[in-house]
Point group: C2
Chain length 208, copies 2
């Protein structure tokens, strides 16, 4: 099975996805504040704008169903807030890895799940989540730093492993909320998410 065969309930899917994209935005805006130069601040602010646009697109879908985004997102707030706090990172580099790893995993996951939504919303959300993720800047910034400093590479590889664990927990809880499937049926979904994550870490020259 894959995620497209599931039919998630629309409002829980949108509420959780919208709030998670807002959390990714908050981490990116922290990266804007931590950025070491005006040039890197400007570059990462573009990635933040892309992530915020995804949040606003998902919030617009909630409004199309006649609901308020705040109310639909609220049940997921405390779990995702805890996750965001735990994955904030201790410095500019860790926070950049967080932005890259968590938004990569969440975008893949939410996009696959969107394929199973009923109606036009499936196409619109898939398109919304398929746009530029702005990762090009993050990759070039991290690769340059990692090439220059092997100790940074091992610290960031460890941080990546922590992030993938925490993010898959969020994805798993999201999937159970949205689809009411049991864990065994969902396992293959996670295998594919981890494979894509491993390829993203390879791009940085880090072992997943």
């Amino acid at each position: 099975m894959d995620l497209a065969e599931l039919t998630p309930e629309l409002l829980p899917y949108l509420g959780q996805a919208a709030y998670a994209q807002l959390a990714v935005f908050e981490t990116l805006s922290r990266a804007v504040s931590l950025a070491p130069t005006a040039a890197s601040k400007e570059a990462i602010s573009r990635v933040a704008a892309l992530s915020l646009a995804r949040h606003h697109g998902l919030a617009a879908e909630i409004r199309r169903k006649g609901q308020e985004p705040g109310a639909v997102m609220a049940p997921f707030a405390s779990t995702i807030d805890d996750y965001a706090r735990d994955t904030l990172g201790a410095d500019w580099y860790e926070t950049l890895v967080t932005c890259y790893v968590t938004s990569g995993l969440l975008n893949d996951f939410q996009r696959q799940l969107a394929a199973g939504l009923a109606g036009d919303v499936s196409t619109r959300v898939t398109q919304l989540l398929s746009g530029d993720d702005g990762h090009g800047f993050i990759v070039s910034e991290l690769r340059a730093a990692i090439d220059a400093n092997p100790r940074l590479a091992s610290r960031l590889a460890m941080w990546g492993r922590r992030l993938v664990g925490d993010t898959l927990l969020i994805a798993r809880s999201s999937l159970k909320n949205a689809t009411r499937q049991n864990d065994e049926r969902l396992e293959p979904v996670f295998t594919e998410l981890i494979a894509a994550h491993t390829r993203r870490m390879d791009v940085l020259g880090l072992t997943a």
Copy 2:
């Protein structure tokens, strides 16, 4: 005299304005993180997106002149970073007042100064800075809190006075950099900025 009679030098004007808008965005993104509910988080994130779009519009004007925004903004970074840190606010309400007061003053100031720029850029930047500032949400959130709590009113009024002082210092230094005018000739400009600020505080029911 008014600001439109000055002819600011284009690149210093754009560099300082773009970096100041980025600082306003950073304060707004802190407000997103501090917001007490998912609904207020979503609402303030829209204000943050508007502010980020102003920054990106100014950065695009720098690129039109064949320059990199990072390099053009860099000379202004440390002064504005200090200002942003000093005006961050201690809680959700103070941070909202900061977003309202500082973006109000900076938008007014930058828009007036844009009128004196030479060429088409004057029209484009004026239009960019005349769009929706998203203040409607901030005003309704603050008015409700102030109506319910007179002690909050006096604390926020004091905070507003601190902010206007700090923000006018930034504006003054910006004007001297961009126009090489002396202080006496610039005084009437500040009188009008303060009058607009006073009207904004009135809207909140606070004394400027």
